[in-house]
Amino acid sequence: MEREQLEKTAVHYPYLRGLLALPLGFMLIMSGLGNMEWGPFRQEALFVGSVVLALGGYVLITRYYEKNYGSVTPKKRAARVIVGNVATLLGLAGGPILIDALNLPFNGLAVSWALVALVYYSVAIGLRLHHVLIWGAVLVLGLLPIWGDPATSDSVNVGLIVVGTAIMMTGLFDHRVLVRMFESRETNGEMSNVRD
């Protein structure tokens, strides 16, 4: 009986449903491409279609997890959860604004989201190798002096595409961790299937 493994499975499950990140990442990428009016993405209808696709995808993915892995209600740690969520939102929204206001030669969006992601994962479930590699790469890319005038819309839109891609990649790897976590429960087969 691995107590720690059982407890981690329950506590980490909500955070490792990585496929739920795919619609969000997709929308960020589509937003960036749409803003840049790149090729067919200048069509507003395409963006509207993307929103519908993302919302539909989110609903289907949620049902996939409920059907195949079930659901848990995390323990209420109200103050910590509220503070964490507020800090995350402030970081995501305020970070780019602050970096742009200070006229720093970084991509504010990429740097902010990378820092918030690294802190979020380290607090929620502990950083895994793929978190460090993906968001470390986004952070480094955001800090490189290649963005010209960071306040230009192209810089922001490329940032959206980079962050959206990182979110999708992280989601896929998180889902893989989830699958392996449950496969190990089944393979161990150490639980009693004998009625007494």
């Binding site: 059982l6 848990v72 087969g189």
Partner: protein
């Protein structure tokens, strides 16, 4: 001070591996549904149902059956008694482990 046998006696209802796993999972969350408990513990549906019934009869868990999008859903949570007993049980197991390690070192 030596531990008495009562201090270290294991709760037979909880010590069964399947039920211990169920209660350990539930001790980490507010509630979990049947599908999650089945996947997390590796128990078959029949055995999970049987164990949950025993735990419910003993007052260690509360089972709520409802419909979610017209499909039956079973949600399970620990009662305060269940929380206390699983915490006590793991505490006793840790103390037994400590005693065993001390004996081995002597």
């Amino acid at each position: 001070m030596s531990e008495t046998s009562d201090d270290l006696s294991l709760d037979r209802l909880i010590h069964e591996p399947g039920r211990l796993a169920i209660l350990t999972v539930l001790s980490s969350v507010e509630a979990a549904d049947f599908v999650f408990l089945q996947r997390a513990t590796g128990l078959t549906k029949g055995n999970l149902s049987s164990h949950l019934s025993k735990l419910d009869e003993a007052g260690l868990v509360r089972i709520v059956k409802r419909f979610v999008r017209k499909k039956p859903n079973t949600n399970v949570e620990l009662t305060p008694e269940g929380e206390r007993r699983i915490a006590d049980h793991w505490d006793r197991l840790e103390r037994l482990k400590g005693l065993a390690q001390s004996s081995a070192e002597e």
